[in-house]
Amino acid sequence: MGDVISLSVNIAGINLKNPVMVASGTFGYGEEYVPYVDLNIISAIVVKGLSITPREGNPPPRIVETSAGMLNSIGLQNIGIDSFINEKLPFLKKYNTKVIANFFGDSIDEYCEVVKRVDSVDGIHGLEMNISCPNKQEGWLEFGTNPDLTFRVVSAVRKHTKLPLIVKLSPNVTDVTIIAKAAADAGADAISLINTLSGMAIDIKTRKPKLANIVGGLSGPSIKPVALRMVWQVAKSVKLPIIGIGGIMTYEDALEFMIAGASAVQVGTANFIDPNVSEKIIHGIESYCEQNGINDINKIVGSVII
């Protein structure tokens, strides 16, 4: 007793005071939650996905609740990288939390353009690359569903940045480890997974899809077992640090991901239901360590007994 428990983790050179980050698209640009949350408690905020120019997003309806989950088809609505740097980042810099810029593009060039803008910007501690976007120039295939495309886009981005580069994987693939290896070979510093699972819902009265975009991304506790399995598979296949994402609602969920091999986690949909959920998860992890004689959270990473 009395021992200080270390919750800090290091992901690709980003020192985090605890392993709990908030996931892109679920926490806006941080300021949306300031009335409800002390941002200083959260180790890192992964901001809403940014593109080189602002995006309008998809027409509504954009969300639908499902059993223990939700589908969304926001369509990557965002203010664009320049507005983020000029209007949102100065505010975020006031807090003792790391800022990770999630970004995407329609082409390899667009990905690279975003990275060139942020690379020398003070206050951005890392990049998270969303590769679940279609490649407009080459047959609309999603970058993250093809190992060759993944390798090419990650290699190209790598050349333009020295910032820690996290690649966020799509779960909508046959074998996620092949994509993870392609990202690792291309120079990624860390892997985060999973993005949302592709899904659909239909109104039986009107026989119309419940989302205007017809299909959307499933998130929430219903996807956690799938996410956990994929984190475990990827952790065995690549030597990079892993960030586990997918339906984390409680500290027990977060610990499962870490035991499976994740060095850190991101809390997503749970923020919508309880903006203070990250704080509760951090405290829960700390109590678990205390009760189980663990003085350093890193000792639990990948400790699954098979």
Binding site: G25, G28, E32, Y36, K48, P60, R62, E65, A68, F272
Partner: protein, 280 residues
């Protein structure tokens, strides 16, 4: 924050009213809402947006140990509201709020036309109570409430509005009570009999304003009439929401600038002129 159920009872049919109390200060405005987590399970997962039906100040005052209260009015339409209807006195519920932008009461208003279609009546009680506490040039503001429902059993809170001193006019789609038609017909009738106008932005004077909540088609029709006659009109929209704070971008509508606006944060109350009605 956590709130406590004081009372939860059926009003009529599938309509329920819940009274809740809270610690501290809420500072809610008519037209604002809360996100309510109806239970601790993952199904339903999301919180439900509920507008303030009544906002009740602590009596005795907060300093003397009183607690603030508010009411919500809801219809049981699915799983979430079904669970809500089963909540009992003393049950504790997690809420987030007050959220969003509420109604603005113009200081020149001497006549308020409050239009409620169906469940759109929910926030209009809080608004009517607030307006009834205002005065313009030392006299009370005249309040007319137009209620449009499907059939007479859907009429809610009529006596409550009348008790505050509002004149209530009812329309039913089946003609079972009041005017056969919708509350848009009630507004049209008013406009032909007694012209309503808002004062020009420069020049002063008193005038009337419209406040509306209900189905989108009804709001669009009312907004059209109001904008045509240059009457100030505020509408409250009801959209499916996940976060209630402007983070998830799930509840958007098109506004005049051609951009998407979050109903939860930039609304739910909008000036009729802000909304791109063609794209709704």
């Amino acid at each position: 924050m956590q709130v406590v159920v004081l009372e939860n009872k059926r009003v009529i049919g599938s309509y329920f009213k819940m009274r809740l109390s809270y610690d501290g200060v809420l500072n809610a405005l008519p037209g604002q809402f809360i996100m309510m987590k109806v239970n601790n399970s993952y199904d339903p997962l999301l919180s439900r947006p509920m507008s303030f039906h009544r906002i009740i100040s602590p009596n005795p005052s907060l300093e003397k140990g009183g607690r603030g209260k508010f009411e919500i009015l809801y219809q049981v339409v699915g799983k979430g509201t079904g669970i809500m209807s089963g909540l009992k006195e003393g049950d504790k519920i997690d809420i987030l709020g007050p959220l969003g932008r509420g109604f603005l009461i113009p200081d020149w208003m001497d006549r308020a036309i409050i239009i409620a279609g169906g469940m759109g009546v929910a926030p209009m009680m809080a608004l009517t109570e607030e307006i009834s506490r205002h005065e313009v040039k030392k006299s009370k503001i005249s309040i007319s409430v137009f209620m449009g429902v499907k059939t007479k059993d859907d009429i809610l809170c009529r006596e409550d509005f009348e008790r505050i001193g509002a004149e209530v006019y009812v329309s039913t789609e089946d003609g079972s009570l009041g005017k056969k038609g919708t509350c848009v017909d009630l507004l049209k009738e008013l406009m032909t009999n007694t012209p309503l106008f808002s004062p020009p932005s420069e020049g002063g004077g008193c005038g009337g304003a419209i406040f509306a909540c209900g189905p989108q088609g009804m709001l669009k029709a009312i907004a059209g009439i109001a904008m045509d006659k240059k009457i100030l009109c505020q509408v409250s929209l009801d959209k499916r929401m996940a976060c209630g704070t402007g983070a998830c971008l799930g509840c958007v509508i098109k506004v005049k600038s051609q951009k998407y606006a979050c109903v939860c944060k930039e609304g739910p109350v909008f000036d009729a002129g802000e909304i791109n009605w063609e794209m709704l």
